[in-house]
Amino acid sequence: MSVSLQKGQGVSLQKRDGSQLTLVRMGLGWDPIKKRGLFGSRELEVDLDASAVMFADQQPVDVAFFNHLASNDGSIRHTGDNRTGAGDGDDESIMIDLPRVPAHINTIFLTVTSYEGHTFEQIENAFCRLVDETNGQELARYTLSGGYPAQAMVMAKLVRHGGGWGMQAIGEAAAGRTALDLVGTLQRLV
């Protein structure tokens, strides 16, 4: 059922019965590239942070990230560093209560940033996927292939249309240690 998105591709999100989604989870994952160095058994440690940035038209309004785990309105909650334990390897999850997203918010960006300054050349298999949290079904997945010499990636955006939401894969490289640094880039991508 899951739609595998290509860069720039979009999909309208709804349940199989056509009704609107309520609680969705955005799972983001990545694998550090295995590098063998002097201490060969060690893997490179990469500290990546998933964030959700909420926009009203062109204006950034709120953000859920490691330093502010819930949006002020409570509709978006970052689950923190807790791993879900799911076998499909989400490293960080962001829960989005779609009906409670404030009326003026019409775009939600999902970003991954590298706090320590690692670039996506050192990371492989970065993906983001959207799961209907009410039944665990994966709705859409976007996998980033290839290494980018960038420190941050804008993975996807959720866009409000009519009474529902759609997801669009973006895959745009950006610069910044946290989502707060990406606002300028995101404004262009609204």
Partner: protein, 583 residues
């Protein structure tokens, strides 16, 4: 006083206001009452020197010309009132920038607006007073008409013959040509502050931090969950305590969502309005009116959606709270709750007590119980300032009864110090007797002894704890928790007493000594900085409903309504039962 810039709006609390405009040239004031379509209902909605009265608006000459608005008398179909200033013999560009003032009936300035950057305009909309979600707001407009009052009035539906005779010169002189604003004049125009830049990030605490941010203590004071004896009951209470805080959080966040959406809607509309006003080609055209109406409509639609979402969230919280309130154990329930009718002394100490209700302006129907964990980790401070001594004492009495009712018999003892009231505060707790309430301290000597006894007790507990010998305290040592209710800060509180008080505030809770202050903070200043800095760590409770509580999630201001008070039958009944139990 608020100095507004062009396009800026502000809420209007007053229902009667006065409007003046200072112009360094002969000028006339007038007002138009406009419907949602931006037009007058008839020529009678145009108030000016020759027709000084419209519904709710009066033109008066009190030294200078003035408009007096009684907003309660403005008909509901009138959406906004615009205040207009016009000159006859020259353009505004030829005189210094006029200053428009909006005043309360007493003459205090509610807003000022320097209308700068003018060119050949001969009539200006200075202020717009408009309805917004059941209230009134005002906006600095500054939109000009080179065709003068006649053009302005007819643009809003006034028939040409109804325009006052003092203005014909300008209407005759009105050039048919494009009323281009000179670039010189334009250069002086400062655009309104860009809100987008200041809004980000909204995740930082708001600039106005409420006086007291309360936080849910998630862990009981003893660090370990309360004993297993009443197992299920305690766990259920813990869950209810958590749910109450969750409801509080959800209410705060839903309100934040509404405010964020509403503010955005207004900001977007104001930006669009300002853009219309700033574009000289767009002024005075039907397109401007249409664009203006479209901006209003976009705003109203967004606010309507946000309000509907908010109402949905709040009504769901109200329903959840109603369902929960019948299950709440007495200490967390309102005094009117049936659980007080069936209250019996508990076997286990209660998890928390209710100390009042919290409400936010947008949702008066939602009264969130404000519950604090028992026993208290930091002192509660009941503010008796501003002559609220009686109410403060009544609140203290109610809270003491709640605390006593939340502990098993004999596990909480009360010490009352009331030097100013001569022990009246202790008498209010009668008929509770010696086994529960110690004789009140009414002299400095008695207070000093009371503090000494409690401090000694904390010392003993700490020594025993360090020696891992709490068991050796058996015997004459009273293991019940001790509650000190300290009324007022009498003068002559000596250094030793101050030191003991500080010691009790800091070390008491972990040694079973808890404090409720009933005091005016200005009196505490006589105790020096050591004690006055401690206020900040305390939970301040106002004796009467007051907006001073901030939530820990988004920092909204909440109105705290104190629990109990006087004339609460259930409270008196429980006090009598507590007394009968110990008699």
């Amino acid at each position: 006083m608020v100095a507004l810039v062009k396009g800026q709006n502000a809420p209007l609390a007053a229902e009667r206001i006065r409007i003046t405009v200072d112009v360094a040239a002969p000028a006339n004031l007038s007002a138009l009452l406009l419907t949602g379509a931006g037009r007058v209902r008839s020529d009678a909605d145009f108030a000016h020197a020759q027709q000084p009265r419209s519904d709710g608006v009066a033109w008066v000459r009190a030294g200078q010309q003035e408009l007096a608005l009684d907003l309660t008398a403005v008909p509901p179909t009138v959406e906004r009132v615009i205040a207009v200033v016009s000159v006859d013999d020259r353009a505004f560009g030829a005189v210094p920038a006029p200053t428009a003032r909006l005043l309360d009936p007493g003459g205090a300035e509610l807003g000022t607006f320097e209308i700068s950057g003018l060119g050949d305009e001969r009539a200006l909309i200075a202020w717009e007073v408009y309805r917004r979600a059941g209230t009134w707001k005002f906006r600095a407009v500054g939109q000009g008409y080179s065709g003068g009052l006649a053009q302005l009035a007819s643009a809003h539906g006034v028939t040409a013959t109804a325009v006052p005779a003092s203005a014909p010169a300008s209407s005759a002189a009105a050039p048919a040509a494009e009323p281009a604003r000179s670039s010189r004049a334009h250069r002086g125009l400062t655009p309104p502050a860009q809100p987008a830049g200041t809004a980000w990030p909204s995740s930082v605490p708001p600039a106005t931090i409420p006086e007291m941010t309360i936080r849910p203590p998630s862990v009981p004071i003893d660090g370990t969950p309360v004993g297993p004896a009443g197992g299920f009951g305690i766990r259920a209470e813990e869950r209810m305590y958590d749910v109450l805080w969750k409801i509080f959080e959800d209410a705060a966040r839903a309100t934040a969502a509404l405010r964020s959406a509403t503010e955005y809607a207004e900001q977007r509309r104001d930006k669009e309005m300002s853009a219309l006003l700033d574009d000289p080609r767009m002024r005075n055209s039907p397109e401007t009116d249409a664009a203006r109406a479209a901006a209003e409509r976009k705003h109203d639609e967004l606010v309507a959606r946000a309000t509907a979402d908010f109402k949905r969230d709040i009504s769901s919280l109200v329903a959840e709270l109603n369902q929960l309130s019948v299950q709440l154990p007495a200490p967390m329930a309102a005094w009117t709750s049936p659980s007080w009718q069936t209250w019996t002394p508990p076997d286990e100490a209660a998890v928390a007590i209710r100390i009042g209700d919290l409400q936010v302006a947008e949702a008066p129907e939602l009264r969130v119980p404000m519950v604090v964990r028992m026993p208290t980790r930091t002192p509660l401070w009941i503010d008796s300032s501003e002559g609220r001594r009686t109410e403060a004492t009544a609140l203290a009495r109610g809270l003491v009864v709640r605390m006593l009712a939340s502990f098993p018999p004999g596990q909480l003892k009360v010490h009352v110090a009331d030097l100013v009231g001569g022990g009246a505060a202790a008498q209010a707790l009668q008929p509770l007797g010696g086994g529960v309430v110690f004789p009140a301290a009414t002299t400095p000597q008695q207070l000093s002894e009371m503090l000494g006894r409690l401090a000694e007790r904390v010392d003993l507990m700490q020594m025993a704890a360090r020696a891992d010998a709490l068991d050796t305290l058996d015997g004459t040592f009273d293991k019940a928790r001790q509650l000190l209710v300290l009324h007022d800060f009498p003068y002559g509180f000596d250094d030793r007493a101050v030191a003991q008080l500080r010691f009790l505030i800091e070390e008491g809770p972990s040694a079973g000594v808890h404090i409720v202050f009933v005091a005016d903070p200005s009196d505490a200043s006589t105790l020096g900085p050591l004690v006055s800095t401690l206020w900040r760590s305390m939970l301040r409770l106002s004796a009467v409903p007051d907006d001073h509580i901030g939530d820990p999630w988004v920092g909204l201001t909440w109105t705290y309504t104190p629990d109990g008070g006087t004339g609460v039958p259930a409270l008196d009944a429980v006090l009598a039962r507590l007394a009968a139990r110990t008699a």
